[in-house]
């Protein structure tokens, strides 16, 4: 909770740091800010406090989610670079500030106690992301991605809000526990049932599924991920997804758990649809970035599965999966930024799988980091991703979501195929990539994320016991 205030102030501080004619200090300052916020966040451990007239709640769950979000942001900021290269058109201070602001939104989405805060947090996060998506102003693809993201996002917000209004009309409360009590009483037959409630729940779920890009509301995702500057794609696919699923889980498990028998079927089929559509489409992609976009949709499908199962262990499964997924995704994008900047085709960064050809010969570290992250995303044992999938599958098994389980196992096998494409390209194919010079902090980040992925793969209890 204190981290929200701190990050807001740091964001403003960052804006004013931009007026100093020294762009070198921006990144270290942002890293320091995030670390400080992380410290403040961890100080809330083992406290259960309601803030601002029951608007926000901090407890261990929210602290965990906030930690995952802040770690992901930290990694993304650590691999960020190149804002300062083009002197005229870049505003590095603003980009870092907007990233901090959007993290504030994400934290509000995991700590909310009132639907008002969910809405505000969602909007802070989304509006920041629209700006960051379009930050490459001269690039038409970035422009188009920003417009699509904006129109789709605003549309989803409208749907979500209509759902909120209907739920308010049916239950008379915005507090998630107030709604939860009403819905439970509803089940007991103590208050009148209105169809308004069901429509409201449906619309809220649709609005949130838009934001986390689950099928059939995923159409904007590949375009936006491909068009946005890669560094912000990494940010989008980690932080936004984690925050979105935290919000979805909290809403469904606290407010609407009384109507579990109603919404479970919706999510049950959407989960299977998401997994099938995302994985099958990802196979046909030529661009690595677009493949990662479909991969992020498919991971939304896996996360949706544990949300659907709604077990007591769901929250720790989401947390572990988000952490493993965020680390691996950031590593993959970090390698991609280096490789694609190094190798351009037609004056644009080459983002296809071919760009990775022969990477291992002169850049063993990059190739190894890429391989580990891909293995983790595919869910191969001895990586963090395997345990993430394992926990999610066991949740689904406990609930008996057999169709989803079968689909998920099949689609994981499909996933192995396309995740191995860049590995094969970098280790087996011939190519001429010279040694790429890497800044020390960049190298350090890659090493840390790779070690973390393997460490969590060997000893998942290291963090699973905390979550």
């Amino acid at each position: 909770m204190n981290s929200i205030i701190a990050l807001s102030l740091f964001g403003i501080a960052n804006l004013f740091l931009g007026f100093l004619n020294n762009r070198k200090i921006l990144m270290p300052a942002t890293l320091a800010f995030i670390l400080f916020a992380l410290g403040l966040n961890l100080a809330d451990w083992n406290t259960e406090v309601l803030w601002f007239n029951n608007m926000l709640r901090t407890n261990n769950l929210s602290v965990n989610f906030t930690t995952v979000i802040l770690v992901a942001t930290l990694l993304v900021v650590a691999i960020s670079r190149g804002f300062g290269d083009d002197e005229e058109h870049s505003h590095p201070a603003e980009y870092y500030a907007i990233m901090l602001f959007s993290v504030v939104g994400a934290i509000m989405m995991v700590t909310f106690e009132n639907l008002l805060m969910l809405f505000i947090g969602l909007e802070i996060l989304s509006v920041s992301m629209y700006v960051l998506t379009g930050s490459d102003k001269r690039n038409l693809r970035s422009n188009e991605a920003a417009l699509k993201y904006f129109l789709m996002g605003a549309f989803a917000t409208g749907i979500l809000l209509f759902g909120v209004a209907l739920v308010y009309g049916a239950t008379g409360s915005f507090s998630i526990y107030g709604i939860g009590n009403f819905v439970t009483e509803n089940r007991m037959g103590q208050s009148e049932i209105t169809p308004m409630l069901y429509v409201g729940i449906l619309l809220i779920i649709i609005g949130l599924l838009f934001k986390v890009s689950a099928a059939p509301f995923h159409f904007w995702t590949p375009d936006v991920y491909e068009g946005a500057p890669t560094i912000f794609t990494a940010f989008m696919s980690t932080v936004v997804k984690t925050a979105g699923f935290a919000a979805l889980y909290r809403l469904l498990s606290v407010s609407f758990v009384g109507e579990y028998g109603k919404w479970v079927y919706l999510l049950y089929f959407l989960c299977a649809a998401t997994l099938i559509i995302a994985n099958i489409t990802a196979v046909y992609q030529q661009s690595f970035k677009r493949m990662m976009a479909f991969s992020s949709i498919s991971h939304a499908g896996y996360l949706l599965m544990t949300v659907t199962s709604n077990q007591a262990t769901t929250q720790s499964s989401i947390l572990f999966y988000s952490l493993a997924y965020s680390i691996a995704t950031v590593t993959a994008f970090a390698v991609m930024i280096l490789v694609s900047e190094n190798k351009t085709s037609n004056g644009k960064p080459d983002e296809s799988f071919d760009a990775f050809k022969g990477l291992a010969k002169n850049n063993p570290l990059l190739a190894f980091a890429l391989a580990v992250s891909m293995l983790s995303l595919a869910g191969i044992p001895l990586t963090a991703g395997f345990w993430g999938k394992f926990f999610i599958f066991s949740d689904a098994f406990k609930r008996g979501l057999i169709l989803d389980l079968i689909v998920a196992v099949l689609m994981s096998a499909v996933g192995v195929y396309y995740y191995f494409k860049p590995i094969i390209a970098s280790y087996m194919k011939e190519g001429n990539i010279q040694e790429i010079t890497i800044k020390p902090i960049y190298k350090l980040t890659l090493i840390i994320t790779t070690i973390l992925t393997i460490l969590l793969g060997l000893m998942p209890d290291l963090v699973k016991s905390i979550f």
Binding site: V127, Y130, Y168
Partner: protein, 109 residues
């Protein structure tokens, strides 16, 4: 003088719900069928206004100010969204001199 909530309550609640739902549907239809970014944008605003109306109606029927406060926040956030949205549209207009979404096919839809 009658209090405003009393005036609002003179019309049955269902009418507000149906009216807002109709407005909302018009907005959704606009978003889905129109090609001009500005008009899509206006349709989204229409959806938000349908929500505002509904919240205000519920709020006065339940004699609970929380709904109206929510309306305030929706308005303020919508203004911020308008600012960013128009900025994106102006940015695109500068590059390609049109705001027709059909032109934007660099990325497959």
């Amino acid at each position: 003088m009658q209090q405003i909530p009393d005036v609002i309550r003179q019309i049955p609640l269902n009418y507000y719900v149906f009216f807002s739902a109709a407005l909302f549907c018009i907005g959704v239809t606009g978003v889905l069928t129109r090609r001009n970014a500005i008009i899509i944008f206006m349709s989204v605003e229409l959806m938000l206004n349908a929500v505002n109306l509904l919240l205000a109606a519920f709020s006065s029927y339940k004699a609970d100010p929380a709904g109206q406060i929510f309306v305030f926040f929706i308005m303020a956030v919508a203004a911020a969204e308008v600012a960013v949205g128009l900025a994106i549209i102006v940015m695109i207009y500068r590059n390609i001199q049109t705001i027709d979404t059909g032109i934007l096919n660099k990325l497959k839809w």
